[in-house]
């Protein structure tokens, strides 16, 4: 039988692999090539300049600031999203009143699941428009309107939200978390439902409280799913382009005020499209690629644990 296996596997793989090489690997390689040139992005002509773009890149204070902002996103976004999603998933699946025999979620959990998932079906464009209304800087904004009605905000000097240098990036994070929690909630819910009920019942019989069941049973059995969620979220944190470029102030792809919410992706686009420094922008793309890849590999390695079969 053995000799028949390889043609079989090959037959299945040849088309996807060719497509993958042509549409993913080859553009990647091209980008590496362009990053070594002074390509303007507006003409096919370019000169080879070696690693100049990279040396310039690591002296560019705006790029280093953007890198820091991405790293901040990278820490806060997965942590906040996963914690919130885990908490909600636990409450919806096994967090209901104990002692009633059997394990269940809080009352109305099916309804909550739909409500929490709802932000996930909104496209990024809608999110952006929606939250620009929420964060509007005069009293027409949802937050400023409410806060000035209850007297926290002075209507003559409303809060700046996205246009505030210390606050803008956090406003973006709020949107990312708001829109992301629902998906991970459903992901974790599905994983929780595959955990046999009798494990929980045994724990209940032993007198375990909600917290104990969560940390001793749910979390270890969910570990693989959390790991996947972490990788997804880390990649989302390295991107975040659409929201930052449309919602924050600043000429050409946002990132303002004065680079305070600048991320690598917006800086890349501005250099590529607006400033005609496509080679330089490609160098940024390569840096982003390596950071993302290293992070994914590291997080998959570091969080690897003994698998529990059930």
């Amino acid at each position: 039988m053995r000799h028949r296996k390889y043609p079989f596997i090959f037959g299945f793989l040849v088309v996807p692999v060719v497509l993958y090489i042509a549409l993913v690997i080859w553009p990647y390689l091209q980008t590496f090539g362009y990053s070594l040139t002074d390509w303007s992005g507006a003409s096919p002509e370019m000169n080879f300049i070696g690693l100049d773009n990279y040396t310039k890149l690591f002296k560019d204070s705006v790029f280093l600031g953007a890198l820091q902002h991405n790293l901040l996103l990278l820490i806060v976004l997965p942590l906040a999203t996963i914690l919130l999603a885990l908490f909600f998933a636990f409450m919806l699946n096994v967090g209901g009143r104990s002692g009633t025999g059997g394990v269940q979620g809080v009352r109305g959990s099916a309804f909550y699941k739909v409500v929490f998932f709802f932000p996930q079906v909104l496209s990024v464009a809608i999110l952006s428009v929606l939250f620009q209304g929420v964060y509007r800087t005069d009293e027409g904004g949802l937050l400023n309107g409410v806060l000035s009605k209850i007297g926290i905000v002075d209507p003559a000097h409303p809060w700046q939200w996205l246009a505030d240098p210390d606050f803008g990036l956090w406003c973006i994070m709020g949107v990312l978390i708001w829109s992301g929690v629902g998906f991970y909630l459903v992901l974790f819910s599905a994983a929780m439902q595959s955990i046999p009920k009798d494990i929980y019942e045994a724990a209940l019989l032993d007198g375990a409280k909600r917290g104990t069941t969560f940390f001793k049973i749910t979390l270890p059995l969910l570990w693989e799913t959390i790991q996947t969620a972490w990788v997804y979220l880390a990649i989302a944190a390295m991107d975040a382009f659409a929201l930052v470029s449309t919602m924050t102030p600043g000429a050409y792809y946002g990132g303002g005020p004065d680079h305070h919410s600048e991320i690598m992706a917006t800086l890349l686009m501005r250099n590529f499209i607006t400033f005609g420094k496509a080679g330089y922008a490609c160098a940024m793309g390569v840096v982003i690629f390596f950071i993302t890849m290293v992070l994914s590999v590291v997080s998959l390695r570091v969080t690897r644990r003994e698998k529990i079969e059930f």
């Binding site: 003409s43 002509e45 509007r136 005069d138 400023n144 409303p158 000429a251 680079h259 607006t274 005609g276």
Partner: protein, 464 residues
């Protein structure tokens, strides 16, 4: 028995998933870098000037024409009218028309592949930067167009019938690369009706302006709104104050990104005058973070008295403007010791039309531009887009203008030869971006006028 079950299936899936996620996540960034691999041959035939006065560029009637128009505030109906005019003369031409807002997205790949369209209205937020295109040798020199005969009166050349400043606006180095077709006037705008009702009179000097702002605020209206999310609108006011104070020489130096220009006392005087709006708290609450739509709508609703903008404002806000609003234009008020007269106004050609060097029907593109510069074309544009064009006396008595456009046209007449313009927003993009960031800090009172000047001076290092 070897089989696929030798592998841990779950691990396999997990790895596959991780790779897919990696690929999907980063490709959106990296795919943007895929440049063209098209041919880079330069086989553009130079137009034969001075051949036939009817057809100076030697257009072949059968050649197709590829037109791409920025479909923004002016729409693209006017361009369809131009295309009909072109077809009347070159009946065999198959014209392809694309009206879009995504100029960069649609055209960057075509420029890179060496098959750009024949004529482009390269405008809007996603325009391809002219400094970049010209630097890459992608733009046709329009000198041939300037020397071609004017269609309405072949005894004149095109260069003789353009409003002053048009050629300069499209010139990079010593060649003209873009025809800026729309004549735009910049300054402050207000509702003449609101002013009449409240008994306010439009100020002539900046001191009067600041005093009036006090009166307006006392009446419960915010004196000044601006499009804070896009700080270049506030820059119209600051740079106009500076330009009028410092005169034509200073404007030239600022446009050329000369660091020394920023040491001129006129710069600090101008920005300090502007800063009085912030010092006295005359801003519309929240305006520093508002988009152009939000702030201009608030202004149309009478929440603010003045707003800076170009003369596209009236057409842009047509739907939100009350019928009796009576939009009016005010040149930036003057400072004591101004080198330019009080009537001087920033005005000039905008909406750059370009013809790519590598266009297949480059001659047709030039001819298209020549047809735009006729009384017929200019009138059609004014009717469809409520704006003036760069053609001298281009609008006949039969075209009805709206109050704002009429008011700005009056201001241009009053200014006479005293119009000026800044070219740096089009031609020095990195410098302009930096200056916008500085202005955003200034309107939020996070930096002082002195620091703003220092940042402007530092930004000149980004000269293209």
């Amino acid at each position: 028995m070897g089989s696929a079950t030798e592998y841990n299936r779950r691990d396999l899936f997990k790895r596959a998933a991780a790779i897919t996620v990696l690929a999907a996540g980063s490709s959106s960034l990296l795919a943007a870098c895929a440049g063209g691999t098209g041919s880079s041959d330069n086989k553009s035939s130079s137009p034969a000037v001075g051949g036939d006065s009817k057809n100076p560029f030697g257009v072949k009637a059968s050649d197709p024409l590829d037109v791409v128009i920025f479909k923004g505030g002016y729409g693209d109906d006017y361009a369809k009218a131009f295309e009909d005019m072109y077809k009347k003369t070159y009946s065999g031409a198959n014209i392809s028309h694309l009206g879009t807002q995504e100029i960069s997205g649609k055209l960057q790949p075509r420029f890179n592949a060496g098959n750009p369209p024949d004529v482009i209205d390269n405008s809007g937020a996603q325009q391809m930067k002219l400094d970049v295109l010209a630097g890459a040798g992608q733009l046709a020199d329009l000198t041939a167009l300037l020397d071609a005969p004017y269609l309405d009166d072949p005894s004149k050349k095109i260069r003789d019938v353009l409003l002053p400043g048009t050629i300069e606006q499209g010139t990079i180095g010593d060649k003209m690369y873009s025809l800026n077709y729309v004549y735009t006037v910049y300054g402050l705008w207000y509702s003449a009706k609101l002013f009449k009702d409240k008994g306010w009179t439009a100020p002539k000097t900046w001191d009067e302006f600041i005093t009036l702002c006090g009166t307006i605020k006392a009446a419960g209206v915010a004196p000044f709104a601006h499009q804070g999310k896009y700080p270049y609108y506030a820059n119209y006011v600051i740079l106009d104050l500076i330009g009028k104070q410092g005169g034509a020489e200073l404007i030239k130096k600022i446009n050329a990104c000369e660091a020394a220009a920023w040491d001129d006392p006129a710069v600090l005087a101008g920005v300090s005058a502007f800063y009085k709006i912030m010092e006295n708290d005359y801003l519309l609450p929240g305006t520093n973070g508002m988009t152009h739509t939000e702030s201009q709508t608030a202004w149309c609703q009478g929440k603010a008295a003045f707003i800076p903008s170009g003369s596209w404002l009236e057409n842009e806000m047509l739907a939100s403007t009350p019928a009796d609003f009576d939009m009016a234009f005010l040149p930036i008020p003057s400072l004591p010791g101004d080198k330019l007269p009080a009537t001087a106004v920033r005005a000039g050609a905008g909406e750059p039309f370009i013809v790519p060097t590598k266009a297949k029907n480059k001659n047709g593109g030039l001819e298209f531009l020549r047809m735009m510069l006729t009384k017929e074309g200019s009138g059609k544009f004014a009717a469809a887009a409520n704006s003036l064009t760069v053609l001298k006396g281009g609008i006949g008595a039969d075209v009805q203008l709206k109050p704002g456009t009429k008011s700005s046209a009056t201001a241009v007449d009053a200014a006479g030869t005293g119009t000026f313009n800044f070219t740096y927003p089009d031609l020095q993009t990195p410098f302009d971006t930096e200056l916008q960031n500085a202005t955003n800090e200034l309107v939020n009172k996070r930096i002082t006028p002195k620091e703003w000047v220092a940042r402007g001076k530092a930004a000149t290092a980004k000269k293209v």
